[in-house]
Amino acid sequence: MSIEAGFRPVEPPLARWIGFLLAAAVAGLGIGFGIYQGLPAQEIILFGVATFALVAWGVRFYTARAPIDVVRPEENAPIAPARTAGGDLRIFIGRNRLLLGTALALIIAFAIASFTVTGFFTVVTVISALVLLGLLILAMTVSKFVVDNRSAFVGIVVLVGLFVIGAINIRGFSSAFNIKSMLLFASFLGLACVGQTLVALLGGLDLSIPFVIGSANVGLLYIIGLGTPPWLAVILIIALGTLIGTINGALSFRLQGQALILTLGTGFAVSGSTQIITSIGSSFAGNVFGTVPPWLKNLAAMNGSTFGLKFPPAILIWVVVSVLLIVGLRNTVYGRYLYALGGNRTSAARLSISERKYWISVYAISGGVSALTGCLLLGWSGGGFIGVGQPYLFMTLAAVVVGGTSLLGGAGGYGFTVIGVLVLQVLTSFLVGMGLKFEWQQFIFGLLILPMVALYARSPHVRSQI
């Protein structure tokens, strides 16, 4: 039976038209509510175009591949010739049971919330729920056909969805100030994730990142306080961070399975010794006082400016680092060998790629970039604090995982992590905007990571690994 014979439901031109109409409807809805909310015109246009393009592309993508999917029941037709409408429905339900279940759960949750919480059932929340539902359907159905980079697709869909819902629900969510602050915090998290991503590409983990960030934060202020020129101090701290990273790599090379715990150990040791050193001769143990130079403050403060433009240079640093890493991992020998090693050690060894060299170098990079993050955070806060890195302990891991870099190594990249970081950051901003406290934020984070990862990072069943 040929593929043409399977063309049953919609002809491609018709599908394209439906997609076009659907996209126009969704975008029009968004624009209508934008005007209703009194948002600036350029934002409405931007969102309108973005939603239109996304929906149109999604539908087109779906229908262009759909016939192949539709063929399958036709091929089975001779076996079960007497198919009724009920049978069709059952196959449809069977194939999309996860999607239908989730959608049903969402609708039920929404209904319960509408009936129990007074003032919950408003136009804005209905629209948000519809957008959420639409995104869910989009993410789940279309992602079946996105074979490469499915995590990036899901991530972008979630990112756009969160942003749209946030913009509808929270006043000032899409203001320039909020976007700037989101980007600033994203750049801290993103820089902290550089090392974690590279290490994860080799199948390792680095839990020393938060401790190195905290130590760099306190250590930099301490060294500046000793009278060292600030620029030299920053270079010194980054060099020290790289050294710690190198030690991490060298020690954990023979213990790759236990890298998690070994880096945790070095992290404890580094943070402890930094505090001991900075406490010597000081009556305030653990607290370092000093003045942060203005240029360092400008580097990461909200009101900083880059070449006259009104955004902090930390964002620019992150963008530059991201571009370098994304391009570098794709196109340089170093990057390709990293993937080769992460994918299969034995075959990489046959290409005479030194596993030790790469393992140590990614940890060294991780240490150096973490130290840089610590320095930037000092500029942001203006005071040294050893615990400044603590939120990054599991956040870096979460961002890497949500982005879609496999913790087993060999798959993913920094571009994915950028998406992961942005998703987490927009989500945080959204939850803060909804007036949720820290504990609720963390709870929702925890609950959301799992389904997001489950959309693309399911490992095959053991019977298919034999």
């Binding site: 998690l260 010794s273 653990g286 925890g446 799992l450 489950a454």
Partner: protein
């Protein structure tokens, strides 16, 4: 018989004694090194109240490490980061429900703790099995969700534990209910290791595909491992509640990193397939002892920083030694961890006796009537100064013990060369004898006078 099978058969008798338990050598060494320092720095540790409070503090951590161990053995890189928040969750819900008037009976209280631990862990196992996401991601997700919801349930430390639990956390005696819980948990696991299920679990942890192809029902085994882990987590939460006798949403969370550290210090492999209660127990006790030893030094304001530094350094060093172990193992194949343990414990016994007597000799402690603040376990009757002079039998006993140990060791060496005949019964007997002696000494301190020669008998009568 094929060559491979013959090789396997020849290698087999050596493997069980060597390969798995050689990893215990590091925690054992560390344990006794720390115990030496701890006892010499602060002999209060070996008084009844000192040991009692040490047990109260250490047991929740030990059980948390057990919980982690049970699921880690199952493989696939299961490092259950959520074990700390889970303990916190059970703790805060216990306190809140009890405060609201539920779970008044002891049985319901304990059952609830165990059931919620098992329920959570089984849920996690089901997600790992059917959603097929990496376990560490599930654990991370659980960590974030649970530590968030803990703060929602109980925003700040507070509440009170039930009445009947108030004596648990006193730490005035060695044989407290908490110790009984620990003993039951340990014995339960040791019995469990005798079952076929445990063999399946280890096989699955080492190589899941091999387990699957040899017909092990890996779904059932994984759920079972997680259920056991949940039981341990529930027990740990009960002991934790007894320790702080209130609810605390944050403190439980800190158990995660400590328990992972303890597990690794105990020689378990985070990759799965290797681990056990003995190693976990030693690892967790080592963590406690590190803190204890460091607390005896007065670092002033930098105390917590030194603790961090020491934690990290010891963790890294013990991991490094684990790397070197396979090389050592080739040359020290006859070293039995059990014998090693017994030898070192005899030495430690000497140190404890020395510390107890010496301490008393230097500064005889005034004894308040009615309370017994510093009752040494191996305390001699009468005044300390007299007792210090009176132990005539001590030398012969120590000498005899050394001879027995030496004999056992050399016999073992000799026999091991010839035939794979295990001498472990002898070592077991020796260990059992020592334990019995210890219990006797704890139970009847005044009878110990008979061991101390004429001077002791005189005083006892």
């Amino acid at each position: 018989m094929s060559a491979v099978a013959r090789d396997a058969a020849e290698a087999d008798p050596i493997a069980p004694s060597g390969s798995s338990s050689t990893y215990l050598l590091v925690p054992i060494t560390l344990f006794f090194a720390l115990l030496f320092v701890a006892v010499l720095r602060s002999p209060r540790l070996v008084t009844v109240s000192g040991l009692g409070s040490a047990i109260i503090v250490a047991v929740p951590l030990v059980l948390a490490t057990y919980a982690l161990m049970a699921s880690t053995i199952a493989g696939r890189g299961t490092v259950d980061l959520s074990v700390g928040p889970l303990i916190g969750f059970i703790n805060v819900t216990l306190i809140q429900i009890h405060g609201a008037g539920g779970l008044q009976s002891e049985a319901a209280f304990i059952l609830y703790a165990l059931a919620s631990g098992v329920a959570y862990q089984v849920l996690m196992a089901l997600i790992v099995i059917f959603v097929r996401v990496q376990p560490i991601i599930v654990a991370l997700s659980g960590y974030l969700a649970l530590s968030g919801i803990n703060l929602v349930i109980l925003p700040r430390p507070g509440g009170t534990a039930p009445e009947w639990m108030s004596t648990w956390g006193a730490g005035t005696e060695v044989l407290s209910p908490v110790l009984v819980i620990l003993l039951i948990a340990t014995a339960g696991w040791l019995i469990f290791t005798q079952t076929a299920f445990y063999g399946h679990l280890r096989l699955m942890g080492s190589d899941e595909r091999a387990a699957y192809t040899s017909g092990v029902r890996i779904t059932v085994v994984r759920i079972g491992a997680h259920a056991i882990s949940g039981l341990f987590a529930g027990l740990s939460a009960i002991c934790f509640t007894a320790l702080i006798s209130s609810g605390d949403p944050n403190q439980g969370t800190t158990y995660t990193l400590i328990a992972v550290t303890a597990l690794v210090l105990g020689g378990a492999s985070l990759a799965g397939g290797r681990g056990g209660v003995v190693g976990s127990l030693l690892g967790a006790v080592n963590i406690y002892l590190i803190t204890y030893v460091l607390a005896t030094f007065n670092f002033g304001a930098v105390q917590s920083f030194v603790t961090d530094l020491a934690y990290g350094t010891i963790l890294v060093l013990s991991l490094m030694i684990t790397v070197a172990l396979p090389f050592l193992q080739r040359h020290l194949r006859f070293v039995s961890p059990l014998l090693y343990f017994v030898v070192l414990s005899v030495l430690t016994l000497g140190v404890i006796l020395h510390a107890g007597f010496d301490y008393a000799h230097l500064a005889p402690m005034p004894r308040a009537a009615g309370s017994n603040p510093d009752v040494f376990i191996f305390e001699a009757p009468g005044t300390y100064a007299e007792a210090a002079q009176g132990s005539r039998l001590a030398k012969p006993i120590v000498f005899a013990l050394l001879v027995v140990i030496g004999l056992t060791g050399s016999l073992r060496l000799l026999v091991q060369r010839k035939r794979p005949l295990s001498l472990s019964p002898v070592v077991f007997l020796l260990a059992a004898g020592l334990v019995l002696l210890g219990i006797y000494a704890i139970k009847n301190p005044q009878r110990l006078g008979h061991l101390l020669g004429p001077a002791g008998i005189e005083r006892a009568s």
